[in-house]
Amino acid sequence: GAGKSRALMQIFSEEIMEGLITFGIPIRTTFDNSTTVQYAGLLQQLTMKARSTVRDIDPRNDLTFLRIRSKKHEIMVAPENEYLLIVIQKPCE
């Protein structure tokens, strides 16, 4: 437990990373407020859609991770229970 939180904070502290945890509404974030709200809202919907898609195909299946790679960065979403963990990573190339 403690180790995990340490690990996460480590991720957050690196320069290439920014992240936020949302529970419908953002709980913890390293972004500024407006960006946080925007990301949270949009990604929530997308995650629901993705999960619905996956489960529609096979109800026993479930979504574990969602990755959106764009030109500028990569958005990673991990849903868990009612929470959403969102991390934006800049490519290190």
Binding site: G1, R6, A7, I11, R55, P59, A78, N81, Y83, Q89
Partner: protein
């Protein structure tokens, strides 16, 4: 005597009258017999002659009152002329009658009216009319009025139109309304997906199962336990951080982030094959992949590494110190190749860890040997950082550092057990009986010929210091022990006091012994005397000797080929040998660690992937990929066994 004249004629008339009257009178004379003719005094006296004149009287239709002398002016003659004819009509009586011609309009109308008023009399009238008239036309006319009559009746008399209207009293309107409280409405929307339906069924099923469980009598106790657990967990949750609630997601995320960060390395690991190996004439290379380090272990040396038998990407690293003077704490970390940044499991201990082994069947159990002679078992499934079971001075711990531990098969009571070897000369079997570690001395490594004469005639036996051992893969009771003196003992679990055989192997401590995984007779040993030796356990002398110019820290057979093994030296080099290719030299010699003075302490092949991990004494673990030349596998497994034989036969001359 106008009067007389006038009277004359008049008299005539009078006479007439008188005549008449006299006639009448004559008639009446009878009456008036007594009448006497009286001559008035003023009567005209007529001569006789005159009295006998006859006057003729004519009756004419002339109006005596009609004027006979009407004169009219005639403009033609410009004189007055008397009219020739004078109207002689004398109207005595006139009366305006009210009879109307029945054929005229008014007559017809009145007839119609009369017919409507008196229904029967109409017919009579008709008949009367019919009888009265001779012409057919009149009869036809009589027939027409009857049908016309009803029509005519309906027509309003336009001159005599009366409009009648009446106004009713409109009741005043009153509004009455009643408002009820609106029923509470709630908007609800959902989609009926396949998975929603599935979820509903699953829930239903779970409820049914729960109800069944509750029926069982055990439920009482179970409930209490659950409640307790529930309380504990809730109290923990309330204290814990937000992040821990998404711990699973966070873990996945961490791995993904690492994958991205180390993307090129991951790609290399999976796909890169060094093409230049073709040109290298059977030499190979080691491609550095990930480097695992943890800041708390920076001062510690890697003392043991082991791959997890179940999860091929997970490996355990034990940290401690080889330095006698600088003994401090130890750590046990488990890393996964999926996450090079941070270990998955962290355990810390007071004493340096010297060795570890992961159970084959229970990959969550890690047996660990400490520098202070203790052994312990860590359970990865439990979150605590302390070992689940630990030996102590009472329970027979070693008096010297434990150099190697190895899990054995479960004993007859299905208890877990493992062996440990230590510098105190004992090989001990530890059994986990009812949550306690019970030890059994298996063998004491007595050094032959070194019984000393102690005081009072006691014979003291000095014991050799075991530094490594390895159990045979097939023959369960057979195992090898390497000692600090450089000897290798072949032992059996059955004989506790005697060895089966002794090999004078090295001049210095034997750091590692290892049976060949394919060839049951061959084993390898390495030592700080710079040599690596390959033996056949039936032959006293080694088959191969390799001098590596530096103390050899560890040696390991590869799991995929019976002729490939790797050795690491304290000068930071890794050597990979393939006996089927080159019996005398390594096919790869490569500096693996960055800095000098960084000694490599251990090496391990991954059972599945073509990687090796190498630990050094700075607390780093490096993962390297073997190039294709190093991974040559013989085509058939039978050849695996045969190859060393060939090699052996050919090579034994070489020594």
């Amino acid at each position: 005597m106008l009067l007389a004249m006038a009277i004359a004629p008049y008299r005539a008339t009078r006479l007439q009258d008188e005549d008449v009257s006299t006639e009448v009178g004559e008639g009446l004379d009878e009456w008036a017999a007594g009448k006497i003719l009286v001559k008035p005094p003023d009567q005209l006296e007529l001569t006789e002659a005159e009295l006998k004149e006859e006057f003729t009287r004519i009756l004419t239709a002339n109006n005596p009152h009609a004027p006979q002398n009407i004169v009219r002016y005639s403009f033609k003659e410009r004189t007055y002329k008397p009219i020739s004819y004078v109207d002689q009509m004398a109207i005595h009586f006139s009366l305006n009658g009210n009879m109307i011609l029945k054929d005229s309009d008014e007559g017809r109308r009145q007839n119609a009216r009369l017919s409507i008023e008196a229904g029967n009399t109409e017919d009579i009238q008709e008949e009367a009319e019919e009888a009265g008239t001779a012409e057919v036309a009149e009869a036809a006319e009589a027939e027409e009025p009857p049908p016309l009559r009803p029509k005519e009746r309906k027509l309003a008399n336009q001159f005599n139109f009366i409009e009648r209207a009446s106004k009713t009293l409109n009741n005043p309107l009153r509004d009455r309304a009643c408002q009820s409280e609106p029923t509470p409405c709630k908007n609800f929307s959902a989609t009926a997906n396949q998975w929603e339906i599935y979820d509903a069924y699953v829930e239903e099923l779970q409820k049914m199962e729960k109800s069944k469980e509750k029926e069982k009598p055990r439920a009482h106790i179970a409930k209490k336990e659950e409640k307790r657990r529930g309380r504990k967990s809730t109290s923990l949750e309330s204290q814990s951080d937000d992040i821990t609630k998404v711990s699973k997601a966070a873990k996945i995320m961490e791995r993904m982030v690492n994958q991205n960060t180390f993307d090129d390395i991951a790609q290399d690991f999976k796909y890169f094959e060094d093409a230049s190996d073709e040109y290298r004439d059977q030499q190979g290379t080691l491609l550095p992949l990930w480097k695992f380090q943890y800041d708390k272990t920076k001062r510690l040396a890697v003392t043991a590494i082991s791959w997890n038998p179940k999860y091929k990407d997970l490996f355990a690293v034990g940290y401690g110190s080889y330095d006698f003077m600088k003994q401090s704490r130890g750590m046990l970390l488990l890393y996964t190749m999926k996450n090079p940044s941070f270990p998955e499991y962290i355990f810390s201990s007071e004493s340096g860890i010297m060795c570890l082994d992961i159970h084959n069947a229970h990959p969550h159990l890690v047996a660990v040997g400490f520098y202070d002679g203790n052994v312990a078992i860590y359970n990865l499934k439990k979150p605590s950082s302390q070992p689940s079971y630990k030996s102590s001075a009472k329970s027979g711990k070693h008096t010297d550092p434990v150099w190697q531990v190895k899990w054995q098969k479960d004993d007859m009571d299905n208890n877990l057990n493992f062996f440990s070897v230590s510098s105190d000369g004992r090989i001990v079997s530890w059994t986990l009986v009812k949550n306690e570690l019970v030890h059994t001395d298996v063998i004491k490594l007595s050094v032959e010929g070194t019984t000393m004469q102690g005081p009072e005639g006691l014979q003291l036996q000095t014991l050799g210091c075991g530094t490594s051992f390895d159990f045979h893969k097939k023959i369960d009771y057979l195992f090898l022990v390497g000692t600090e003196e450089g000897k290798i003992y072949k032992c059996s679990k059955c004989y506790s006091s005697q060895f089966l055989d002794v090999f004078e192997a090295h001049h210095m401590a034997v750091d590692a012994v290892s049976w060949n995984p394919y060839h049951t007779k061959v084993f390898i040993s390495c030592s700080s005397d710079w040599t690596v030796k390959i033996w056949d356990h039936t032959i006293k002398t080694p088959m191969f000797i390799y001098d590596l110019n530096s103390a050899v820290g560890d040696v390991a057979w590869s799991p995929y080929s019976s002729t490939v093994f790797a050795a690491v030296t304290t000068d930071g080099k890794a050597h990979v040998f393939d006996l089927s290719v080159n019996k005398y030299e390594a096919i790869c010699t490569q500096v693996v660690v960055a800095k000098k003075k960084n000694k490599i302490t251990h090496v391990q092949f991954n059972p599945v992937y073509p990687v090796v991990i190498i630990g050094d004494d700075r607390g780093h673990v490096t993962c390297l990929k073997l190039s294709p030349n190093l991974r040559r596998m013989p085509k058939q497994p039978a050849v695996q066994l045969a190859a060393p034989d060939k090699v052996l036969h050919n090579g034994s001359e070489g020594i």
